[in-house]
Every structure is written in C-alpha cells, then in structure tokens.
Assembly symmetry: C2
Homo-oligomer: 125 residues x 2
Amino acid sequence: MTNLRETSNLIAGDKVSGTTVYNMAGETIGEIEDVMIDKPTGKVAYAVMSFGGFLGMGERHHPLPWSLLKYDTGKGGYVVNLSKTQLEGGPSYEEETEPRWGDRAYESKLHSYYGSDPYWVGPLL
Amino acid sequence: MTNLRETSNLIAGDKVSGTTVYNMAGETIGEIEDVMIDKPTGKVAYAVMSFGGFLGMGERHHPLPWSLLKYDTGKGGYVVNLSKTQLEGGPSYEEETEPRWGDRAYESKLHSYYGSDPYWVGPLL
C-alpha cells in the first residue's frame, strides 16, 4: 500500500528513488536515482539526481548533499534551491560510472561546491 | 559498476535492499527489504527485514532500528545480535500491509522492544 509508505517524517528508500526534483520556480529539473547512506551513522549522505537530458547531453547523475533537498508534500517531490547553472557546473558522472564514494577529497569538493557542511561533520539538518 | 556502489562508509540505498541479515552465529535470518528514512534529518530510521519463511509461516516484514545492524564486510551482509525468539516476538506485519509509520506510540514500542534509543532522540551510532 504505497500510500502508506510515506508519513509526515518517514519515507521508504525505494520511494525516494524516482521522486521528482523541482527548482524554486517549480520546474522539474530531474529525479532521484538513489540515495547514498553512510553506514556508521545511518545518515543519508547524498541523493543522486539524474537529469532527463535537458542539458542537451546524455543523462548524467548528480550527487547532491541530502541537506539541500526539501520535501514538498504538495508537489510530492523534492525542491532544491539551485539554479540550472549551478547544477550544470556541479560534480556529475555518467550512468555507467561511479564517483569516488568515500574519497574525502572528492566529497569535500562536492560539499563545498554546494556550500553545505559535509555529512560527516555535525548533523544533517 | 556495482562493485563501486559501496565504499568503506557509503552504500547505495538500492544495494541495502536484498542484503542478507545474519545472526551472531552466522546463520542467515532474513534479508533487507527496504529502509525507512527520516526526511527531516536524513537518518535511516529502520531497516525492514523480511523472513524467508523459516518461522513456518508466510513471510513477514520486521522493522529493525537501523542502529541494531552492523555491516560485516566479510559476510557482505548485516549482523544483528538478536535471537530467533526475539525476532519472532518482535513487531512485524504482512507484506501487503504497513505499520503506522510516524506514529510515535508504535515506534516507541518498536524501539523499546529492541532496547534501542528512538532515532528521533540523539544520534544513531
């Protein structure tokens, strides 16, 4: 009963995948492919967002710090306060590849690009 | 490239699903169906484990506080320090139903049954 899979606070991991991501203007900018979970703390570190090719190139996967995503119950999707330019310039990778997950240098660059605190320091709020 | 989907710390949400769960004796006791994520904090609150029917009844889903699961890289699965009796007596539900996610009374009972701190108080460590 999928309608029960999500409450005010809890959402099933497989329901996060496929969720639409909107910008502040309410335009669809992509969808969540998956989440990356930090096992020691059980925190979601990243949501991996894919672009539907509106960038005029093949679909690419963009890892976004989870703290950037705000869930909009009305839209039934996540809203991120990022411009198309910010997203285009952000770290991304092709579908058949993977970034260096766990590489603190890579992940630090990712967090600093989006101006968010790394998930491994302090709480994700 | 699935072999890259998991690092020392990070694991993809869709890789958690289907992961085998072992008891302390190294016996397979079930597998992870999905995780329940607390949206405000981005913390994994529960891993939903299904039993392969070894209880002599239809497969049931058992939500386990994430903090109970320890990942064993050697086994490639999660280890929980729970007896068969504890698991049999624990809160569970049938495949086509869902518990009252977000109901603090239900979730408090769940956490207290397993003797773990609720995910909404303090960090998950």
